[in-house]
Amino acid sequence: MCASGKYSSRGPALIPRMKTKHRIYYITLFSVVLLGLIATGMFQFWPHSIESSAEWSLDRRSVHDAPLVRIPVSSPIPERGDLSCRMHTCFDVYRCGYNPKNKIKVYIYPLQRFVDDVGVPISSTGLSREYNDLLSAISDSDFYTDDVSRACLFIPSIDVLNQNSLRIRETAQALAMLPRWDKGMNHLLFNMLPGGPPDYNTALDVPRDRALLAGGGFSTWTYRQGYDVSIPVYSPLSAEVDLPERQPGPRRYFILSSQTAIHREYRVELERLKEENGEAVLLLDKCTNLSQGLASIRKRCYKGQVYDYPQILQESSFCVVLRGARLGQATLSDVLQAGCVPVIMADSYILPFSEVLDWKRASVVIPEEKLPEMYTILKSIPHRQVEEMQRQARWFWEAYFSSMKAIGMTTLQIINDRIYPYAARTYEEWNNPPIVKWSSVNSPLFLPLIPPRSPGFTAVVLTYDRIESLFRVITEISKVPSLAKLLVVWNNQNKSPPEELLWPKVAVPLKVVRTKENKLSNRFFPFDEIETEAVLAIDDDIIMLTSDELQFGYEVWREFPDRLVGYPGRLHLWDHEMGKWKYESEWTNEVSMVLTGAAFYHKYFNYLYTYKMPGDIKNWVDAHMNCEDIAMNFLVANITGKAPIKVTPRKKFKCPECTAIDGLSLDQTHMVERSECINKFASVFGTMPLKVVEHRADPVLYKDDFPEKLKSFPNIGSL
């Protein structure tokens, strides 16, 4: 396919240049095209096994084909990492530039094989499988650029994941030979196993100038906060073993220790814990009778009894992750994968991705010296919290530990967030597992604020042509003390609004907005004319609300500015027979919606309704000329997680279900249509966001045996 594609793109470019055209030329050309097509066709229909073998024979790409680079003995060595490096001192931010996508560009150096003066490679393993996976993942990602001049971050193809396999001096020289090295500026190195015997430094020992280090075993003394990135030690078992997710809950064992090379002192203490707490603690070690190699990695033993590893981790609530010679342990990854809460005992260890991950919600960190108290400490953690931690642990693994790709992408995202902090991922995005993201709400109006009374509210009256009724509504509303402005949304394109002189005289500004189309959604448009945050949406036939009732509604809204505060309440019910939602407008003891024929709400929800309504709900509403109020109730409940507030007793509304159209009334078809709306919206939202409550708001002294004239809102509930 691709071959013929290329061919035809070449063709037109060639032909016009040939002024005198000879037949033989065409024949040759044609035959080549034909040949190409046949060959392509053969590739297309060739059985796959053969194709891939053919492919490998054709693709001689091998790490051994990478160009060989000889490092002169005298080649310069970079300086040791500068501990005072920070993004504003050692990182050239100009390279990243202004970028509307707020995404850094990452360049990967092509693979080279570095050898020293006598031809010995600088690394005993060369390119590891993990580093290859990591670079592949980056080159596949949106971060990647092949244009070195546009790159903000450079990643050497020199594998330094494991310091043990490196020749330190030569690796450093190789780094300095990279064409864009420039004192390591904007270079990122990935290292998971730093240090080496006997003292095991906690950061890579390779001198690296100003390069950033994504390191797997930082201690608080080597980690340059805000510059380096602490990454996990990848566990190759992740790719080998599939541990299905387990429901959070109590497990067979309370504490499990599965590491094999635990220091004597600590093993003694663990054994003491085991003695004290018996069955609750399982203490595993390497199986002595098994041969070395892969098989032994997958087994653990306790007194001759053999357990499968890492499967056994799923049988415990807490799993010990103790420091070894290094602070970072691959076990942490296995433990998280098993949904076991890690008990991390590695003093001064900088936990992986701690810049963005809230480990307090997924792990227990205990100082090494408190190992003997581990059992008591863990027992004091509430059950519900343990379950949350188990879920959180598993989520961390899936999102940030499960593959080299996950590790690489997380690292780049963290650096990206530093360069474009105003576009950074939020705490919730980093830390909430999908199930929590789905069920939790983060209200956009989260500050507990009772706005002052003084700005008042803007009444938005939606009208079509019921002028007489409209004028009555306007007259009534204008008596409400806190009314700041009246906005009439004239939804009739065929008829002009009455002349200015004919309108009732009111003390507040009155504006008429003419709409382009007769849509119900127009009533929720965030008009610039609405200058207050409180909006009273009111139909042009709601004349039965008293001034006291409206003013009281506004006062209630001030106490609940993030809710819909309305008068007639409605309810949704689950119809067991039909297996779907049903709309209810009868005298119920519960409320889950208020009609927006008369309701106060924050102007923010206008903006939300107009620009952020999920799915095709807005169109559905406009097409059906119905249910805009139900849609609004869904929207607000979904984003705030809160029920609306019904105010004041039930009144006899002349036509409470009326929308702007005459003729619709409380008949059966109307109810059916409203029920349909609920079902439609619930399916678009993917959930039923409405909340049911059994209360309504009345003035403090409502119906109290108290002189009416002393009540702030005496005229409430009169019919």
Binding site: V32, E51, Y223, P444, E559
Partner: protein
Amino acid sequence: MQAKKRYLISLLTGAFLVLLFYFGGGGDPGPAATGFRSRHDRSRNGYNRPEQPWPHFSDPLQHFSPWDQSDTEEYNVHISPRQKSDVNSSVYKGKRCRMQSCFDFSLCQRNGFKVYVYPQQKGEKISESYQNILSTIEGSRFYTSDPSHACLFILSLDTLDRDQLSPQYVHNLKTKVQSLPLWNNGRNHLIFNLYSGTWPDYTEDLGFDIGQAMLAKASISTENFRPNFDVSIPLFSKDHPRTGGDRGFLKYNTIPPFRKYMLVFKGKRYLTGIGSDTRNALYHVHNAEDVVLLTTCKHGKDWQKHKDARCDKDNAEYDKYDYREMLHNSTFCLVPRGRRLGSFRYLEALQAACVPVMLSNGWELPFSEVIDWNTAAVIGDERLLLQIPSTVRSIHQDKILALRQQTQFLWEAYFSSVEKIVLTTLEIIQDRVLQQMSRSTMMWNSHPGGLFTLPLYSSYLGDFPFFYAELGIKPNPKFTAVIHAVTPLVSQSQPILKLLASVAKSQYCSQIIVLWNCDKSLPAKHRWPATSVPIIVIEGENKVLKGRLALNTTFPSDAFISLNRNAVLKTTRVDFAFTVWQSFPERIVGYPARSHFWDNNKERWGYTSKWTNDYSMVLTGAAIYHRYYHFLYTHFLPNSLKSMVDQLANCEDILMNFLVSAVTKLPPIKVTQKKQYKETMMGQSSRASRWADPDHFAQRQTCMNKFASWFGGMPLVHSQMRLDPVLFKDQVSILRKKYREIERL
């Protein structure tokens, strides 16, 4: 052109194309086979250009760590972990101090996190700000006067201003500190500092050897900041209030959230020297319309000496605008570094709900250890000054709305008073000491904030009344009734027994706890009514009302309904109140309400039990609230207030209302109550004298004012509404109504 040549060309072309085909197209690993479709196009040209994406290698590659890696661990096993940590703590001192190496945790184990303040020495001058810091600590629940109980030590020597040119500068600090008997080379000491260094280089050195002490320092740079050891505090002025403090200026959330100006700044320009570059360049971005960045060269005596070409123009422009007006009418406020990294402007912008745009490279932002500043500020880079306008313009209005609200939350939670700044500092250090019992990021960064979210209560977010929505969970649908008994059981007709029976009948009741604060011994088992829920009787030691609130928190349900023994409550009433509480788990839900008011004549707060159109408290003689507030009452409030309540045997409900409103910033919720409630609740026979007593009322006035002064302001908020059942008093058949009992008033 000759025919031969043409043949040759065409042949060559053909050959070339064939070659291309083989090497280019054929060499491509088929997408179907490898499964890397997206790479398809790019990898095709792999061999032709050096800038290739990462190729697929056919070689079998080794793992980065050998399977039996543990052998190397074994090799190292002879180094004892103890030795290792000893080595660390001996090596990492001074600039590399960390909690692990420079802090003695063992001092905090026995008595918890207690803070000792050195006694003030005669003749030692202490600035007002430092005096405020010291008295805050002395008034806090962390304070101990016994150094042997202390975990943290605070100097009584004023270290706030270490600028040698400042009049506040304390001389000979070095010798004074060294001569302190408990100094111990600064171990477990915390040193507060606002200014360090002086012109021209403004180093961050304090001018004396701080040893292993921790620093709570303003304007600290990331290079000098020792993570999880030092605390970065905001720069605050000497007029910063000691307690309470003003609320944020945000009164409402306007939509769209843009204000008159997009970005403003008004301040000095230094022309030369450290920190002058950014301010000197601001005029590039100034557009005199919505981006107004004004500088003046006038400062110091000899500013004219350094005067540059722009000064006169800048100075004239500068005088045209009013700083306050700009602060209140701008969406974003630029906060560039001054000579030092931090500035007063930061807190000013925060309070004014003007989202700070930071231009102070290398400043470790205040309380950065716990506060996620990306949610309340725009962190710019001085190097990218010219991009700042386009950056702030690109910020979506939803984000602006959130940033702005967060500025207000952070201001009120951590910055509005010296007390809050100091307590936040101490709580951060306490979190390090508590380790696994410390607050999570979410507790610090969402309402009501870390100071009101005590980790000693629980480290689980779901145990608090504040995070249900964020976690997507609901409070436990059961309550625990707590009944306070003070009179012995003599007859079966006693109100307490009726109360027990009606509460126990509630479908939401999980258990009843009777607090027996009576001289007479407990009645026999059979005297208690038979109920379907367990009744637990706890004998109180104190014969005071406090006993009801000082409960520990070992109960499973999230809600407590606290009841006076004489409360007359029908089951439906309890049921209804509890369903209301489930919608407002962070508030107190109660029946009889009271109100406060400002008495202009007496210039103090007044208390009223009159029936008014609004209320700000509900009596806890019958109220539902989250069990966390029990804990907070006992552990957050100072002993001075609690013992006052004990001695008076009064006001405990007022205190509870103060506390909850201080946390929520919202009023309590009153639900329907029976009219004669007032009489039955308050005029009960046994205590009738007490409630009728005018002293009792006067006490409550006094309490209010005492509490208000401790809280540094009046936290109570008025409400004008009451929650009734949906069909309350509606003209519809009583049979339709769920809460019929409530109808019969």
